[in-house]
Amino acid sequence: MALQGEEKSAQPAALCDNRSERARELAAQGKKIIGYLCGFVPPELITAAGMVPYRITGVMGEPLVEALDYFEPNACNYVLNCFQQAIKGRYDFLDGIVIPHACDTVQRLYGLWKFWKPPAYAHFLNVPTTVSPASIRFFREELEMLKESLESFGGVEITDQRLKEALSLHNENRRLVAELYGMRKEHPPALTGGEMTRLLVAGAGIPADEFHSLLKEMLRSIGGNAGSVDEKKARVLLYGCVMDDAGLVDLIEAGGGSVVLDDTCIGTRSFGTAGDAGDDPMEALCRMYFADFLCPKVVRSCDEERFEYLVQMAREYRVKGVIGYFMAWCDPHKFDQPVLRNYLEKAGLPFLALEDDYTLSSSGAMQNRVQAFLEMLQQKD
């Protein structure tokens, strides 16, 4: 695939809009493509098995029709939407799926997908609910089982060497992503939140080495240039679960904000931790994808200080406020919401909670609320 130096954001945007194209091309060439969902599944294992990890996403805004024949309507519409894509045959290019025991809804998605749209390969990765030495060992054994099943499906042995290579390739991408994030600490930031989101979404649908070239290209095109973002824009952090579409980020940025940081599944939650493979690459994966992976599904502690990492991140990026994106019917995030709000507000970080059904269909009303929030932030100091 040619990744020539074009305008800074053109390639990722095109790849993001047409994100399955490359995977389809590779599938046509005989590559095995494995779809996965959520941040608990290490794409490194898929890469090490010589297959292409492809992050399953929905088509934001598409009305839910077909999915409702199989799935209850009081379910996360993002997950329903992903399933609808499968039912419509849009994921037929996948050779297999790996779905973790993330929230209740994602867990059910595995069974539904396997039953009604059985792929050649389907694997369920169980995830503990608390973090302890025993649960880390349990997760490690789960990863070992995933590794074995990928080996037998792919007909390859995932040797330590292969795994280390995959880890170092993915880690290198993490490092480059971190570099790009770092460029948004400046004011004005070197790239917009929309550009960053498109880049990450694009990267989640192509092989790790191609993502590597894309990141390099992005860094090269930015060079030492100062950001083009309007200085007066209020710097915000976007908090939420899935963010596989740049629509909301664009809406915030069009309304006078600048999303310089996120705490979302496709953003810092997945790219924030890097594992030195050391002698034990499985141990590194365990840490990155479970012990240090801050998904609210895992109950770590009951004190509100568990949100301190967000405050720290916000300070580092000189963020003025936090916008939370909550999916309707989402238990893990919605139970956290009031405590999170209290904690952030106590730390002097105003918090705006937006609720959506993965359509942004109330974007008019949302825009008004976002704008009012941003104006308030701008007046803050």
Binding site: C103, G111, N126, K334
Partner: protein, 439 residues
């Protein structure tokens, strides 16, 4: 949300034993209130925490989930839920948890148990014990109200099971799961030893597990007796019996209760005493009931329809030959065997097997079911998910009329009498003329 004023009714139970649950429940709440008054610790627990272990530690407990049903039945849940919603907890969230959150809010506001709290209220807990079985809200809800109001020590017992399709006979898989689950149960024991300052009495735990198995066997036999026509015991009675089954497991009282129930139901079967004089239709109820309007079951009966069986809270076939001398391992082993039964039945969607189409198909056949009612409770994803899938599977394998009723387990604001009754009446017309009608 309903515009009209709904009429909420308590159910009139059919069996004498189920009717006695009211008193059992009152005594049970009084006991933990007394413990708290006397300065002894009370734990708030979530179903899935083994009551056998609590019993051995002589720990009094309150169960916010059960309290949710009690508040719903006494039409107090909306009050508490509104308080929780005022704090920012979304109406999407489990209504039992919202009820508990609102209760905490009011408790703190007035500095003690609210005077109009149903069953005398839940005493402020010294600790929380929750778990990860079945759903996210039971761990996330407890985390939320602990972080928000309670700030007490909490233990989350994380019990994991494989997803359907796994080979439950694979010794490696079993060892992987049991090692973890046993660790988690020991974790609870260590937590309780620390909180109560007493050591585990393993012999007492073995006895409690034996009691628990005995009660479950009796309950299962009652389930079997309920295959009789006319139905000797309806779902509303079974829903009362979850009190001794879920919260008093391990006690001698629970065994005695189920023995009494068993005797009564057997006597009814032998004498062909049905729930109603003329049983026209037999219904299978899928889902949690609407605790604020259990009278809906009597309404069905007034139309000649008895809810003869239900999927929720089903006790699977008894497990025998478990080595009770190592009670912790036994608890884990029993859990594994139950999960294996569910896998065998075909719980295609979940690790918990709550919505096993296989179970629904089995019940439709074995209980001579004429129609299935799926109660889709909006604020509980865990028990609702899989209903649409199961209905599709039924359509393919065993055509039987199906009705979806949408409301909630504890939030009456989702209920509309005219809508629900209209749906039931149209459904029974289909049941009457349709394929499922018994000769």
């Amino acid at each position: 949300m309903s515009e009209e004023k709904s009429e909420f009714r308590k159910a009139v139970r059919s069996t004498e034993t189920a009717r006695s649950v009211n008193q059992i429940l009152m005594d049970w709440y009084s006991k933990s209130l007394l413990a708290s008054k006397e300065g002894r610790p009370v734990a708030w627990c979530m179903v899935g925490a083994p009551p056998e272990i609590l019993k051995v530690f002589d720990l009094d407990s309150s169960w916010p989930e059960n309290y949710g049903t009690a508040c719903a039945a006494r039409q107090m849940a909306v009050h508490y839920m509104q308080l929780a919603e005022g704090e920012g907890y979304s109406p999407d969230l489990c209504s039992y948890e919202r009820n508990a959150i609102g209760y905490c809010r009011e408790y703190l506001d007035i500095g003690g148990i609210p005077p109009d709290a149903p069953q005398g209220g839940m005493p402020w807990p010294a600790m929380l014990i929750t778990n990860s079985t079945v759903c996210d809200p039971r761990s996330k809800g407890f985390q939320a109200f602990n972080a928000h109001y309670l700030h007490v020590p909490m233990y989350t017992m994380d019990i994991q099971m494989p997803h359907y399709g796994a080979d439950m006979q694979d010794p490696k898989l079993k060892a992987h799961y049991l090692r973890y689950n046993i660790d988690q149960i020991w974790g609870l024991i260590r937590f309780l030893e620390e909180q109560t300052g007493t050591k585990l009495n393993e012999a007492a735990l073995s006895e409690a597990v034996a009691n628990s198995l005995a009660a479950q066997r009796l309950m299962w036999e009652v389930h079997e007796l309920r295959k009789a026509v006319p139905s000797p015991m309806p779902s509303e009675d079974q829903f009362s019996c979850i009190v001794p089954m879920l919260y008093m497991a391990g006690s001698r009282e629970a065994v005695d209760f189920f023995q009494k129930l068993h005797d009564e139901v057997r006597n009814r079967v032998e004498n062909r005493i049905g729930v109603i004089p003329e049983e026209k239709y037999r219904i299978l109820w899928v889902g949690i009931p609407p605790w604020f309007n259990m009278g809906i079951f009597n309404y069905l009966e007034s139309l000649g329809a008895v809810s003869a069986m239900e999927t929720t809270y089903y006790v699977h076939a008894p497990v025998a030959d478990v080595d009770l001398s190592r009670p912790v391992e036994a608890i884990a082993e029993i859990g594994w065997r139950k999960a294996s039964q569910v896998h065998t039945l075909g719980a295609e969607l979940s690790t918990e097997g709550l919505f096993s189409p296989g179970l629904v198909l089995k019940f439709v056949r074995e209980y001579a079911i004429d129609g299935v009612i799926f109660h889709r409770v909006l604020s509980c994803r865990a028990i609702s998910f899989g209903q649409a899938h199961t209905a599709r599977r039924l359509r393919e394998e065993l055509p039987v009329p199906v009705l979806f009723l949408e409301s909630d387990m504890a939030d009456p604001r989702t209920w509309s009498d005219s809508r629900i009754k209209g749906s039931i009446s149209a459904f029974l017309d289909i049941v009457d003329t349709g394929a499922g009608k018994r000769a």
